[in-house]
């Protein structure tokens, strides 16, 4: 039987392994959606058959508002105490981005941002209406009410 000399090294060829690993890393990197952090996955959305996926039409911004079943607004997991202040500051940012002049003679100009409402199915209307009304006061008119499509 042939005897291996002491200098013989057994080295596995890891080139293929590295190739596969980098492909996997690329996949997960591309799949990582950092915007999903703003979505509160603990909410149980209502089920609506005709709900359609988001249509942003390119450039328009989205402002996602998560409302839990007690009716409190949550942004990135944190409850917002000053609702009016938060909506007003977001409206200000949207106004600057769209280069829209602030309200003149009490008439609030319409903002192009879409308010995405993700509310728990058990949230009372009173709480949702409070938030919608505050958004309307600040010039938001486009709303998207989130729901689960029936088949999912």
């Amino acid at each position: 039987m042939a005897k291996l000399s002491r200098d013989t090294k057994a080295e596995p060829n890891v080139t293929a392994v590295i190739g596969v690993v980098y492909i996997l890393i690329t996949f997960f990197l591309l799949q990582a959606n950092f915007k999903s952090a703003e979505v509160d996955l603990s909410l149980r959305l209502p089920v609506v058959g005709s709900a359609r996926p988001v249509e942003t039409h390119g450039q328009r911004g989205l402002l996602v508002l998560n409302i839990d079943k007690e009716g409190s607004l949550r942004i990135y997991g944190r409850p917002i105490q000053d609702l009016a202040g938060y909506i007003a500051s977001e409206a200000h940012v949207a106004r600057l981005a769209a280069r829209i002049q602030p309200a003149v003679d009490g008439v609030t100009p319409e903002l192009p941002t879409t308010i995405v409402i993700r509310a728990d199915r058990a949230t009372p209307f009173k709480m949702i209406n409070r938030i919608i009304t505050e958004c309307q006061k600040n010039g938001f008119r486009r709303f998207a009410l989130k729901a689960k499509p029936k088949e999912s």
Binding site: T15, I18, V21, Q31, P53, E55, T123, F125, N129, K146
Partner: protein, 167 residues
């Protein structure tokens, strides 16, 4: 004449890939552990202007000008749907204008009848909802409304919400 071929000694260059492989696996582990697929969600897109008076004053007739009452609804372009909820937030009763409707299917039928009438003046809907009404119950009404087609062929997307305080 014999030519001597120069012997080139073959030097093996070995890259130490162990560290890179380690790092690659750590990155991979990180991405696998933090991987959270986006939930499949849909949405109903709406244009929600603040609630306004149900009569457009500019189009309305001045009092006393229409002696024959030839067009009594001119200027009224908003249809009102009332949604009354019970204490648990479920829909208790529904009404379109002043008339009660027994359920969602009847509501859809009534709205279809109203909007399919070519002479109908309505282009927006105000939904009056009890404070206690659950969001999923409200979405059923919104879904029925957004299925309606206006007399101009466009889908109804102009809705407003008004809260009815629970008595």
């Amino acid at each position: 004449m014999g030519r001597r071929r120069a012997h080139r000694t073959q030097t093996d260059i070995e890259l130490n890939l162990a560290a890179m492989l380690d790092m690659a696996f750590q990155l991979l582990a990180f991405f696998i552990l933090t991987f959270r697929p986006n939930p499949i969600e849909g949405q109903i897109s709406l244009r929600l202007p603040p609630p306004q008076a149900t009569t457009v004053v500019n189009n309305a007739q001045a009092a006393g000008t229409d002696f024959d009452n030839s067009n009594p609804v001119e200027g009224v372009n908003t249809l009102t749907i009332s949604v009354f909820a019970n204490k648990s937030g479920m829909i208790d009763s529904l009404a379109v204008g002043e008339g009660q409707v027994p359920g969602l299917a009847a509501l859809a039928g009534r709205l279809k009848t109203v909007f399919s009438d070519e002479g109908n003046p309505f282009d927006q809907v105000i939904i009056q909802v009890s404070d206690s009404c659950r969001y999923d119950e409200l979405m059923k009404i919104v879904e029925v409304c957004t299925h309606q087609t206006l007399s101009n062929g466009k889908k109804l997307s102009k809705l407003s919400f008004v809260a009815i305080p629970n008595g």
